[in-house]
C-alpha cells in the first residue's frame, strides 16, 4: 500500500500508512440482526452487564 503524504502542524511532511481518517457514519446497525457472537465496548460493571447487549447474547447461547 502506498503511504499517504500528510503535513503535520509544523508543516513537516510525514509518511503515514495506517492513518485513522474520518469516515462517515452508516445507518445504525441493530444488534439483534447482526449475527454477532460478542460485543466490544467500554468496560461494564457486573451491574451494567445485566442490561448490556453482551448479556442478551450470552442468554441466547449464540
Amino acid at each position: 500500500m502506498k503511504a499517504l503524504q500528510l503535513t503535520d502542524q509544523g508543516g513537516r511532511s510525514v509518511e503515514i500508512s495506517n492513518y485513522a481518517a474520518p469516515i462517515p457514519r452508516t445507518e445504525a446497525l441493530s444488534a439483534q440482526s447482526a449475527n454477532i457472537q460478542s460485543v466490544s465496548g467500554a468496560t461494564y460493571t457486573s451491574q451494567g452487564y445485566t442490561t448490556s447487549l453482551q448479556a442478551a447474547l450470552d442468554k441466547s447461547g449464540l
Partner: protein
Amino acid sequence: MSVHTFDTMGTIVSVRVDDELGLVDLEAVRAVFQRYDGVYSLYDDASPLSRVAGGELQLADTMPDVRETYAQALEWRNATWGLSTPHRPDDVIDLSGLVKALAIRDAGAVLDGLGAAWLLTVGGDCLSRITPSTPTWRVGIVDPDDAAGLLGIATLDGSRRALATSGIAERGDHIWSRNGRSHFVQATVLADDIETADVLATTIIAGLPGDLDRVTETWNVDVLVVDRDGEIRATPRAAEWVSRPTSVVG
C-alpha cells in the same frame, strides 16, 4: 456452542467454546481471574496491592510477580509517552488495566488446551482462537451514543486475535487525560495480543488526536475511535468494520 459466564474483577467474563466446556476447564479459567484479582484488587483490603496503597506494605517487599507486573506497566507507560500509567493522580499504584489483560491472556492459554475455537469476552474486551470449523468470530462495536446500537462489526479471523475497547460511556471520565477531559469518548483497538490492544485503547482515550496518530504509526493495529461530537475515525482495515455489507445477515 457452549456459553458460560461468571463474575470477577468487578465485571463479567463470557466464555464461548465451539465444543462442550467441562466444569474442570471452566473452573481453571475462573481460577486464573481469581488469582490475579486476589493479588491486585484495590477493592479487597487484604490484597497485596491494597496493602501497598495503604502504606502497610512496601512495593519492594511484595512477591516477585507483583514487581514484575509493575515493571511491565512502567514499560507500557514509557512506550505510550506517559499516557497509559499505573500511577493514579492520588499516587496509588493501580495495575487493574494491565492485570485484566494478563488474566485474559492466561485464561486464553487454558482454553487453547481444549483444541476448539473459543471467544473470551471480559468487560468488553475480547480474545479469540479460530479453527477450520469456526474460521471467524464476529464482534459488534458498541455505539457510545446508543447503547442498543452498533457502530460496526469486527471480524476476528485469526490474523489479529485481540480486540479491546476503552471509553467513558460505562464508568464516566475515569481515565486521566492530557487536558483533563477526553477528546475521544471511545477507542477500539484490534491487535495481535490483548495487552497491546487494551493498553493502546486506554492510551488513545487519555490522549489527543496527535497521540492517536502516534499510536497508529508505531504499532501494527487497527483502530476505530469516536470523538465527543460523534465523529468516527478509522484506520483502513477498521473502516471496513463500519462500511459493512448489510445483505449477508443470516
